[in-house]
């Protein structure tokens, strides 16, 4: 017995470890038993209360991570908000386009403006429709607000239009109130200009300017813009009129291409061309 006690004392570290390991395994085996559960429940309540009491202490690392996550979410939501706002604007624009009232006989086809380019002083727009949709060179481009421009070139699936802010585009117009005719053009800046309007004719700021019947490209009475000011040309009998465009080419994203009645236009063009040629010939004869 004494030898056994001496042996235990000699190897006490191992004996104690064996006892503790055995006890640990016993505890592990019994940790799920019903006898232990009240103790676990009590400790859970106590620890929960202590943790709750200590929850006011901030964790800078967790706050930093949470801030980072919230920042990411904020960026995501800002992006979604921006998309929603854009969709809302697009929706309103499309609703207006749906309400566009056209004269009987006109055919229009909707198009998206997929690109805008500026070459020298020629502002061009690329439309999402082309020859395959019936678009031809010279067709007017409009929105619900008014005239936008004219088709300049076409391909199978796309077309390019020159907008009103284009030095090469000239449109026959008239004022809707007093029916004064003129040619509108862009010479730079934010406004269009109608030159050579006799001073005697009645034009005032706020007058609506629409397309004239004299144009071979544009149907009549399409709004072009509003007169903003009238200026006398120096040493001249004429005035020039500044017009704010009704549809700003740089701000629109959707438009319509007016599919003209080709037969009547061609007939008119041919007739006007024939008369013009005859007049030129008679002038030459008179000159001789």
């Amino acid at each position: 017995m004494r030898r056994l006690i001496n042996l235990i004392i000699l190897f006490k570290e191992y004996v104690v470890l064996a006892a503790l390991v055995t006890l640990s395994f016993f505890l592990m085996a019994s940790s799920r038993t019903n006898e232990i559960q009240p103790l676990r429940a009590m400790t859970t309540v106590i620890v929960g209360s202590l943790q709750s009491a200590g929850s006011w202490i901030p964790n800078p690392f967790a706050i930093s991570r949470e801030n980072s996550e919230l920042r990411d979410r904020n960026i995501l939501m800002s992006s979604e908000l921006s998309e929603l706002r854009q969709a809302k604007g697009e929706n309103e624009e499309l609703r207006k386009l749906l309400g566009l009232k056209l004269e009987p006989g006109w055919k229009v086809i909707a198009a998206d403006i997929v690109g805008k380019t500026t070459v020298f002083e020629r502002n061009m727009m690329t439309l999402s429709i082309g020859e395959s949709s019936g678009v031809e060179k010279g067709m007017p481009v409009i929105t619900d607000a008014g005239l936008v421009g004219k088709i300049y070139a076409t391909s199978g699936g796309f077309s390019m239009a020159e907008g009103l802010f284009n030095t090469s585009l000239r449109v026959a117009v008239k004022t809707s109130r007093t029916r004064v005719d003129g040619i509108i053009a862009w010479e730079g800046g934010d406004e269009l200009i109608v030159r050579n309007i006799p001073k005697a004719l009645d034009i005032q700021s706020g007058d609506l300017v629409v397309t004239s019947e004299y144009s071979t490209f544009f149907p009549s009475d399409i709004p072009v813009g509003t007169v903003t000011r009238v200026e006398d040309e120096q040493n001249s009998l004429f005035r020039k009129i500044y017009v704010q465009p009704a549809a700003h080419p740089l701000e629109i994203e959707h438009c319509f291409v007016v599919l003209k009645d080709g037969a009547s236009d061609k007939e008119r063009s041919a007739f006007e061309s024939r008369i013009s040629d005859e007049l030129t010939k008679s002038q030459k004869k008179a000159g001789k």
């Binding site: 390991v21 006890l23 592990m28 019994s30 103790l39 859970t44 964790n59």
Partner: protein, 160 residues
């Protein structure tokens, strides 16, 4: 009396670890204050005290953390026993007040992780590398860094 104070410190360390776990965690890893106290005890009192204190601290941690009863007590008892092999009565103060204390803590944390992994994680199919590259490794590093505090504290005052 010294034993009572040491017992109170041990309980305080484990309670702080459990109660402040949310406030002091980094990426989910919490420093093992109980292990730091265990290393302190092993360096000062040797293998037998280490395994007994380890068992008691582990059991307290099991009770307070609502974990499997006996799991931490087993691993801490084994850690106390294994670290006890490096006990040297003549170098107690030097070890506690200098970098060997941090080395003991790091080895203890690693051993604790190994034992815990073999007992509870091996069967679940978690890879040992993944385990140590994850929270276990982070917790070991965090525990070692926190152990600098008692090391510096003990270097400014007499141990006994």
């Amino acid at each position: 009396m010294p034993y009572l104070i040491e017992g109170a410190i041990a309980i305080l360390a484990v309670v702080l670890q459990v109660v402040l776990s949310n406030a002091i965690s980094i990426l989910g890893a919490v420093p093992d204050l109980g292990l730091i106290y265990l290393v302190w005890t092993v360096i000062r009192r040797g293998q037998l005290a280490g395994e007994i204190v380890g068992f008691c601290i582990g059991l307290l941690l099991d009770i307070l953390s609502s974990g499997s009863l006996g799991s931490h007590s087993l691993s801490f008892a084994i850690v106390g026993f294994l670290l006890g092999y490096f006990y040297n009565e003549e170098e107690t103060e030097q070890r506690i007040r200098n970098w060997p204390f941090l080395l003991f803590v790091a080895v203890g944390a690693f051993l604790n992780g190994i034992i815990y992994y073999m007992l509870f994680k091996l069967a679940s199919g978690v890879g040992v590398v993944d385990y140590f590259l994850g929270q276990a490794g982070l917790a070991a590093i965090y525990t070692t860094i926190i152990a600098v505090i008692p090391m510096l504290w003990s270097s400014r005052r007499p141990l006994y």
